[in-house]
Each structure stands twice: as C-alpha cells, then as structure tokens.
C-alpha cells in the first residue's frame, strides 16, 4: 500500500483535528462549553491560582463571597459561618508579612468526603467539593477532618437566603467555588471582585488536561499547595508563599 502526498496530508489533518477514530468517536475528547442539560464532566477540573505577591490587605474577596452566597453572621465570630477568610503570615525573623485568602481547597482526595457517614460531602465530576444538604445530618465529622478549617456548621435559623444558594440550620457548608456561577460559565464571585476592586491576585480556570490559561501559567511559573505533605492534590494553588 502506498500513500500519495495528498492522502498523507489529509490523514495528518484528520489526526490533528482531535484524534478522530470514527465519526463522532474521538481519542481525545474536545472540551466545549456545557449546556444546562449536560452533567458536569470529568474532562474539567476547576481550580484557582492565588498570587500572594499581588494580594493586598483588602477584604474584597471575602465581602464578595458573602454577598454572592448570602452568608451573613450574627456577630458571633466563634460560630458564624465563614466560607473564605483572609489569613496573615509573618516571618518572625525578618518581619516580612503576607496575606492570602483561604477557602475550601477543593482537593482531589478530600478528607471531608472520606469521613462523611451519609455521602452528603461529595466531589463533583469536575472536582468541586460540595455538601448535599439534603443528606447532611450535621455530624460535623468533615469539619474536624478538613486540614484547612474550611467548613462551617450553621447553628442558627437562616433567613433571606439567595435563590441560588440554599442554606439552613443543622447542616455544614463551605466554599462551593460558586458552583451556580460556574454552571452558567461565570467566574467565582471572589475572583471577579479581586480582578475588579482588589489586587488581581486570583485566577480561575481548568487544572485538567486541557490547555488553558491557568494550566499554561502553572506550567511556566512555580506554585505550591498548602500542606503538600498530605498529598490531597488541592485545586487551589498559591504563588509567592
């Protein structure tokens, strides 16, 4: 069998077009924007990259998150829900101070999911770690298991919830990566607010196999996970720590 030049080029083009095995069957699936009828896909792994060098001493991300998700406290810091918080780090020897936002790290191997007795704490196909409050019994095992202290228990009756973000007494909650916004192809509220009013320190994107802006930046620049020794493969990565 011999291939002439024209056929050879045609074959090459077909392979580049996404490794097509047969019509409609691809070796490498192309990622496309999801329609509302489609399930979240394992072809995505949503994550964040936070550049602590750009993170200023503001609380814009915290305010935006709590506004978007209708998280309001009762003026009782010990028990009020906290989806995202600013953490300050200071080197005692040099006095160098840093600040960074800390929220659910959306681990690939989340301890909160391992310990949940009802399966309420779960990881969605696209890597977002969530609580199904319909099955949460409020045992708070996940609150204890999370090494980042990201989960909160709701102690008191909640009123005035946002239609997109149901919240109720007796369940555990944490950062959802603004899953309701992601499902309509928007960025999380904290990222949007940081880009608008903050230091442009946060970047949202796909950590998965697909070539995207976030993945490209992670390939080019050094970044780190918090508590890497736990090997949780976090979806939130930091730079400049």
């Amino acid at each position: 069998m011999s291939l002439d030049r024209r056929h050879f080029i045609g074959l090459g083009a077909a392979v580049t077009a996404g490794a097509v095995l047969a019509p409609g069957l691809r070796l490498i699936e192309l990622v496309q924007a999801r329609s509302p009828e489609e399930s979240a896909s394992v072809l995505r792994r949503w994550g964040l990259l936070i550049d602590t060098a750009l993170c200023t001493d503001c609380e814009v991300c915290v305010t935006a998150c709590h506004e978007e998700n209708g998280v309001s406290g009762h003026g009782r810091p010990a028990t009020d829900a906290q989806w995202i918080r600013k953490v300050g780090l200071r080197d005692k020897r040099t006095g160098h101070a840093q600040t960074l936002p800390l929220m659910c790290q959306h681990c690939a191997h989340p301890p909160c999911v391992d310990v949940c007795p009802t399966g309420a704490s779960f990881k969605r196909a696209d890597g977002i770690v969530l609580v199904d409050k319909h099955t949460c019994i409020g045992c708070r095992y996940c609150v204890m298991a999370c090494p980042y202290g990201a989960r909160s228990f709701i102690h008191e009756t909640v009123t005035g919830q946002k239609p997109d973000v149901p919240r109720g007494k007796g369940t555990v909650e944490s950062c959802t990566l603004c899953v309701h916004r992601i499902d309509r192809d928007e960025q999380p509220a904290c990222v949007e607010a940081c880009a608008r009013d903050g230091g442009k320190a946060m970047m949202f994107g796909d950590l998965g196999e697909n070539d995207g802006e976030l993945r490209e930046r992670l390939r080019r620049q050094p970044s780190s996970q918090l508590r890497p020794e736990l090997a949780l493969d976090t979806g939130v990565r930091y730079q400049g720590l």
Binding site: S35, P36, S39, R124, K133, P163, P166, V179, D185, E186
Partner: protein
C-alpha cells in the same frame, strides 16, 4: 402520604359538591398568579410534584444539571404571590395547601421562598469569554 392527600382532596371535592355547610378546615387558596399553564398537567402536578422536585434536586446538586423545568426555583418564580413575594404565608400557594393536607414541607427552611429578582438569561446565551 400521597394517598392521604388524594383522600383529602376527594373529600374536599365531595364537600364542595354536596351540602352548603362550610368545611371544617378552610380550603386551600389556589391562586395562579403567573403563566398560562404548569410544566405538567394539573392532576400530575397535584400528585407527583414532590417526586419531580426531588428527582431534579439530585440531578442539580450532584451533576450540575440546571434545567429549569422541574426546578424548585421555577415553581417559586411562577407561584409566589406578588403581594407577599412568597409561596409561604396563610394564602401562599405552597403553604395553604400543605396546611390543608397536614403535610409538612422542609424545602423553605433552606431554600428561598421568594422569586428570583431578575430573570436570568438562558444559560446557553451566556458563555465564557
């Protein structure tokens, strides 16, 4: 539970058709505020709305499927009273019937009973930059 509801509704029908005596329990207020018809036939909705919502809730929470047809938000958007901006309250669409049938609903302990403020654009129209 559904059987009980059916019995109660039938009893209400009989009571309505029969003598002129007022019912012992106030009949539910069913006032449709918006939209020409529901997502399913009325008889189907009366008996099975809870199953539709429950099925949709798992698809939404676990799979991220946010079609509006059988979603609780869609119920609330149409059925909330413009006066109270809620499906709850004495004459609220959900609460008045549930009070009549003596079936407790937990939905609104977490979910908002008010309709969405601005109707969001269809999902397909909003794509990432």
């Amino acid at each position: 539970m559904m059987g009980l509801l059916a019995v109660l509704l039938t009893a209400a029908g009989v009571a309505l058709a029969g003598d002129k005596q007022p019912a012992r329990v106030a009949l539910p207020v069913i006032k449709i505020e918006k939209g020409e018809k529901c997502v399913e036939p009325t008889a189907e909705m009366r008996r099975n709305h809870m199953n539709l919502i429950s099925h949709q809730r798992d698809r939404t929470v676990h799979d991220g499927i946010r079609t509006v047809k059988h979603s609780l938000k869609n119920c609330v958007d149409c059925h909330a009273s413009p006066k109270t901006n809620s499906v709850l309250g004495k004459d609220g669409f959900c609460e008045s019937c549930h009070a009549y049938a003596a079936v407790r609903m937990d939905c609104f302990e977490c979910h908002s009973s008010a309709p969405r403020k601005a109707a969001s654009a269809p999902l397909a129209e909003r794509r990432a930059p």
